[in-house]
Homo-oligomer: 196 residues x 2
């Protein structure tokens, strides 16, 4: 869990609770940014609607995630936010957050570190998506996962992993099967062992 809350909590700011049901909108493009949101429980999707009618999902913010970090430095939103299900949010008044960060350099540094980590993770993900072959993509992903002596625990269904990888679940199963055939990996119960 990405615990952004621990970064803002020490600031001792006023906070309000917000609750959204599936499909409800938190803000829309162009709206003034008055608050900074953290997803406490649930999921909020950030959607950008393109002029041609299509839409792309910029961020899918789950438990503990900071919503639209860039909004802290922008007057208005550049995308829409929509709850993907029952969602509880924490809202902090933006001006107070900025003032507090100015007054507390340690907190600003901590947040900076958090942003840096997110950047690193996103860069890794982008690099992964640049790999064309399903097999190599899955292998690269496995190699990036935290491993214990070559053993990588897989705690969620492959179907979900497939989504993160930008592949269909069929493609992932096939890639795994090929990797086993080629002796690149071994499959254990709820885990994968790398042989590279």
């Amino acid at each position: 869990m990405i615990d952004s809350l621990s970064l803002l909590e020490p600031l001792g700011l006023r906070r309000s609770l917000r609750h959204l049901s599936a499909g409800e909108t938190l803000f829309t493009t162009g709206a003034r940014v008055a608050e900074l949101f953290i997803v406490e429980k649930g999921r909020v999707d950030l959607i950008r609607h393109m002029p041609d009618g299509n839409a792309i999902r910029l961020q899918s913010a789950g438990d503990g995630a900071l919503l639209a970090e860039a909004s802290l430095f922008s007057d208005s939103y550049h995308c829409d936010a929509e709850a993907a299900g029952e969602t509880a949010l924490l809202a902090f008044p933006k001006p107070e957050v900025l003032d507090a960060l100015k007054a507390r350099p340690d907190a600003a540094l901590a947040l900076l570190g958090h942003f840096a980590g997110r950047l690193q993770a996103l860069r890794a993900q982008a690099a992964l998506f640049g790999i064309r072959s399903a097999q190599e993509r899955v292998l690269a992903w496995l190699q990036l996962q935290p491993s214990d002596a070559g053993i990588i625990a897989i705690d969620r269904p492959w179907k979900q992993v497939a989504g993160e990888l930008g592949l269909t679940h069929e493609a992932v199963y096939r890639a795994l099967a090929s990797l086993v055939r080629e002796r690149m990996i071994e499959r254990l119960d709820g885990a994968v062992k790398l042989r590279v």
Copy 2:
């Protein structure tokens, strides 16, 4: 140009110059992080070498870009940095940067804003990569570009754009041709006009 320099300059830090030729290495995985680098002129690629011998490019830092932001908060590097050509770098001592940011909350905030912008851009790029169809991907990319009354100036070869889009240049040319056929765009000299 991503001018990260203007964020560190006001701190009045000691700086040193570094020069690399094509293929030269700035740092390698595991090395201690002693300095923070900004690319003054040229390009540095951040490469992560996978255990199986493959390599993925995490970041391609061009003029004015901050190199491996996350290194500011890490003791050692998690990737290799290699110059893609003749490259001039500015190096700032990491501890001094951190101290200065602690002492100057405005500078920390400014850097935070920069990181937030980078996050936003990366999110947009990642979302783009999620679009399968070459045609829609190119269209979405065009719609994200800064435009002046629907006119988008293209200042670099399509070949390079293709790389950013994760497509081959042939696919991009074909997508552009289709979009013109379907009257979604018009092609001007060194520019594209959106008709959506």
